[in-house]
């Protein structure tokens, strides 16, 4: 069965690339443009991995991540945080709130694919 990746970002130009990138890597891709949409998408169908931008409208990425981690059903979905905030404290906060990985924008697309594959056990 094809694994699915939920891309949560409100910047269409990066969504375009991420969608293309993940599809190329062989995953089914869904898109959410803010925090609430992201949670709805998860409820609708549990993804195998979430690419979660921090700076999204409504609930921010930290909030979405924490909400999922505190739920029973979705606590273990691998989450990679994508962010334009690059400070060490922010990374620490992201990991403390339950992210599996933390990638600072701009990033190398091939490296991102590698990390996704690693978390999904597809290497």
């Amino acid at each position: 069965m094809t694994k699915s990746v939920l891309v949560v970002d409100d910047e269409p130009n990066i969504v375009l690339s991420l969608e293309f990138l993940m599809t190329q890597a062989g995953y089914e891709v869904r898109i959410a443009r803010d925090g609430n949409e992201a949670l709805e998408a998860v409820v609708e169908k549990t993804p195998d991995l979430i690419l979660l931008d921090l700076m999204i409208p409504g609930r921010d990425g930290y909030d979405v991540c924490q909400t999922l981690r505190r739920s029973e059903e979705w606590a273990s979905i691998p989450i990679i945080m994508l962010t334009a905030k690059g400070r060490e404290v922010e990374k620490e906060k992201g990991l403390a709130l339950g992210a599996n990985d933390y990638v600072t924008k701009p990033f190398s697309t091939s490296e991102l694919t590698a990390r996704v594959k690693e978390l999904l056990g597809d290497t």
Binding site: V89, E90, E92, K93, A96, L97
Partner: protein, 713 residues
């Protein structure tokens, strides 16, 4: 007759001498002429007779004059000479010299008058001297005050005359400038500070004064400027003020105050550079990228070769841009200073203020726990922020009490607020950020304060029961560890193991309690030396309580003790306690019962506990106490836990556990470090099957036996 003469006036007496002298002439000449006349009659040789009697009369007159002269000298000239000497002595060497009246008794009232004058002179001079002494003392006092102020002043201060020679400088000026050149009284200021900006400022001020513009000038006779040390090493922000004479119109000297702004300026410079890089530096790669992208987008006829070239441009330029932006971000985050003034803060001070404040306002109990550390921040705004956060958490969770602690980890100091219950949602925590804090400068919000400190906050679980709100702070600029700790050797291990074996005293129910649930008092003593049985005494004792696995920093005990003997110099470098510091302190008989009260019902823990226990035991009788608490020794427990190494000094273990050491070799500092170590050991012991107090005591005993055997060899 003599008495009568001595009562005569000096003029009359002098006249008497001359009368006597005049009387001598007829009295001698008269008879001589009479006898000469008779002799001429009988001998008929007038020349011969006149010669004979003339000679006799001459000799008689001479004798008379000499006698009267001698009389004059003894009674008049010599006493006057004496008086002159007396006066000179009084004037020049001994003001209390007494004037001899007796030798000058024929000098009328002269001696008494001189004497009276001398007395008057003495009184006047004493009064003048006293005034001078008072004034000098007052000046000295003012000078001292001035020196103290100057010494404590954060700014460097130099006063120069108009030839730019240094008349005065303070400690700060010396410490700032001595590396750049010779600073000294009377030396030229230009041997340390670069000349042109200084002379320029001086000229401006003198012009302002000459043209009398200073009356209306906002800075008066002062001006600010930037200058540098002669070697260019330091940049100084300086202020010069002209000093006028008493009539307020001629300049006599100038005062220079200055601060070292080298680091601030260099940080500002870096910031400027970053800003320039972020604007101008990004133009070129973006231009390249945009041009290539537009070419691809807008050209309908483009051959494959061309398209590939443009694509290559876009790829390389975007890679370059990524790298550039990463470098910029790294440099930006690495900028040491923010524009907000920061200082090194000791967390115990900050957190105790927070805990007092919330207790006052809302009856929230905030307990300081853990080993305090140093962090960098603005104390007042942090206090406001933590106060606000505590209130917010309390409003949401209704938790009645909180633990406040700092943890030093991976180059950052975390301030943790811990409560019983689940963590807060990220959205909840975020919703506090933009409220303006009432007492803050300019109505700052929590976000502003956290941003100044480059801090983020979030809430997470500690364990199944408890949660925390965590604020990672920058560590202090000062080194976290005490400098002296590296050089001093540790106390030798103390081998009176019987002191630790008090199993009978343990109430059986305590022995079966898990370590994680017991109350401990971790303590340390400082002593005059290493030999308790040879007269060494306790000079400091401190302890901190561990309750429910938390180090209660707020509940600590720290006292100096008067040992009733002198403190050997050789021991002072270990503890820094001098005779002066303990002379007003109570003796062990007062302090140890207080400590006993503090440690009541608790299990005592110390590093190399036998050493401290020996000192306590020796005082039992004197103090009417019994230190029969169960005792655990972190040294023995360390040997049990880490049998692969021989490094079990407090420093070694602290290093192994990553515990930062503050105030090492003070009783409270060492007690806190030991407490930090012991707390970490409890879960490690549990993993090795040591759960209860009895388990820990038995394990310690085994180590004692092994060590005792080793000691026998």
């Amino acid at each position: 007759m003599l008495k009568r003469i001595s009562q005569m006036s000096l003029r009359l007496r002098t006249l008497l001498f001359f009368l006597l002298l005049s009387a001598c002439i007829p009295l001698i000449l008269g008879p001589a002429l009479y006898f000469a006349y008779g002799h001429i009659q009988t001998h008929n040789d007038p020349a011969d007779s006149l010669l004979l009697f003339g000679l006799a009369a001459g000799v008689g007159l001479l004798l008379c004059v000499v006698a009267i002269g001698a009389l004059f000298d003894v009674n008049v000239a010599s006493p006057i000479q004496g008086l002159i000497r007396d006066i000179q002595t009084i004037l020049h060497s001994n003001r209390n010299h007494s004037v001899d009246v007796e030798t000058g008794r024929y000098l009328d009232h002269l001696p008494e008058t001189v004497r009276a004058l001398a007395r008057q002179y003495r009184i006047q001079r004493s009064a003048v001297d006293k005034t001078i002494a008072n004034a000098t003392q007052e000046t000295a006092k003012q000078k001292n005050t001035l020196e103290t102020i100057l010494k404590d002043l954060y700014e460097g201060v130099i006063i120069c005359n108009l030839n730019n020679q240094i008349l005065l400088y303070n400690q700060k000026a010396l410490s700032l400038l001595h590396v750049s050149g010779d600073i000294g009284l009377g030396r030229s200021l230009f041997s340390v500070i670069d000349q042109p900006p200084l002379l320029h400022s001086l000229r401006r001020l003198r012009n302002r004064l000459a043209e009398e513009r200073h009356h209306n000038h906002p800075e008066g006779l002062g001006t600010s400027f930037v200058c540098a040390t002669v070697d260019g090493r330091y940049t100084l922000e300086a202020r010069m003020s002209l000093v006028l004479d008493l009539e307020e119109n001629i300049p006599t000297s100038y005062i220079l105050t200055f601060e070292d702004v080298t680091t601030e300026l260099s940080a500002l410079g870096k910031r400027d550079h970053l800003l320039r890089e972020a604007t101008e530096g990004l133009r070129q790669p973006i231009a390249n990228l945009r041009a290539a992208a537009e070419m691809i987008a807008n050209s309908s006829h483009m051959d494959d070769h061309m398209r590939k070239q443009f694509q290559a441009v876009m790829l390389t330029e975007s890679l370059k841009l990524s790298e550039k932006i990463n470098n910029l971000a790294e440099d930006y985050h690495g900028l040491a200073t923010t524009h907000w003034p920061m200082a090194d803060i000791y967390s115990a001070n900050l957190l105790s203020l927070v805990s007092l404040r919330v207790a006052d306002e809302k009856n929230i109990e905030a307990v300081m726990t853990g080993v305090p550390c140093w962090l960098r921040g603005d104390s007042h705004s942090l206090l406001l922020a933590l106060d606000e956060i505590l209130h917010r958490i309390h409003d949401v969770t209704h938790a009645p009490s909180f633990d406040l602690q700092t943890v030093n980890r991976e180059g950052r100091v975390h301030i943790d607020i811990i409560w019983d219950g689940p963590p807060l949602s990220s959205s909840e925590v975020d919703s506090w950020q933009d409220v303006r804090l009432k007492e803050s400068i300019g109505g700052m919000s929590l976000r502003d304060i956290l941003e100044h400190h480059r801090c983020e906050m979030w809430s997470e679980e500690v364990d199944q029961k408890r949660s925390r709100l965590r604020l990672p702070m920058q560590p202090a600029h000062r080194p976290q560890a005490d400098k002296t700790s590296e050089t001093l050797p540790a106390r030798p291990e103390f081998y009176d193991f019987s002191l630790l074996s008090q199993p009978n005293r343990i109430r059986p129910e305590i022995g079966d309690c898990p370590l994680s649930e017991l109350t401990f008092v971790v303590f340390d003593t400082e002593t005059t030396g290493l030999k308790p049985t040879h007269g060494d005494e306790i000079i400091a004792i401190a302890g901190v309580r561990i309750f429910n696995g938390r180090i209660l920093t707020g509940e600590s005990f720290a006292r100096l003790v008067n040992p009733g003997r002198s403190i050997p110099k050789s021991s002072i470098r270990f503890h820094g306690i001098t005779d002066d510091m303990v002379k007003d302190k109570p003796p062990a008989q007062i302090v140890l019962p207080q400590f006993d009260n503090f440690a009541k019902e608790a299990i005592l823990v110390a590093h190399n506990a036998a050493f401290d226990m020996k000192f306590l035991k020796l005082k039992e009788e004197e103090c009417g106490l019994k230190f029969d608490h169960p005792v655990l020794d972190t040294l023995l427990l360390s040997v049990f836990l880490h049998d692969h190494t021989n490094e079990h000094s407090l420093n070694d273990i602290a290093k192994r556990f990553g515990i930062e050491i503050e105030g090492r070799h003070t009783a409270i500092g060492d007690a806190l470090v030991t407490a930090g170590i012991f707390k970490r050991m409890i879960p490690m012991l549990k993993a090795r099957g040591i759960v209860t107090l009895n388990d820990a005591i038995q394990a310690s005993h085994k180590i004692v036996e092994v060590r005792a055997q080793q000691a026998d060899f």
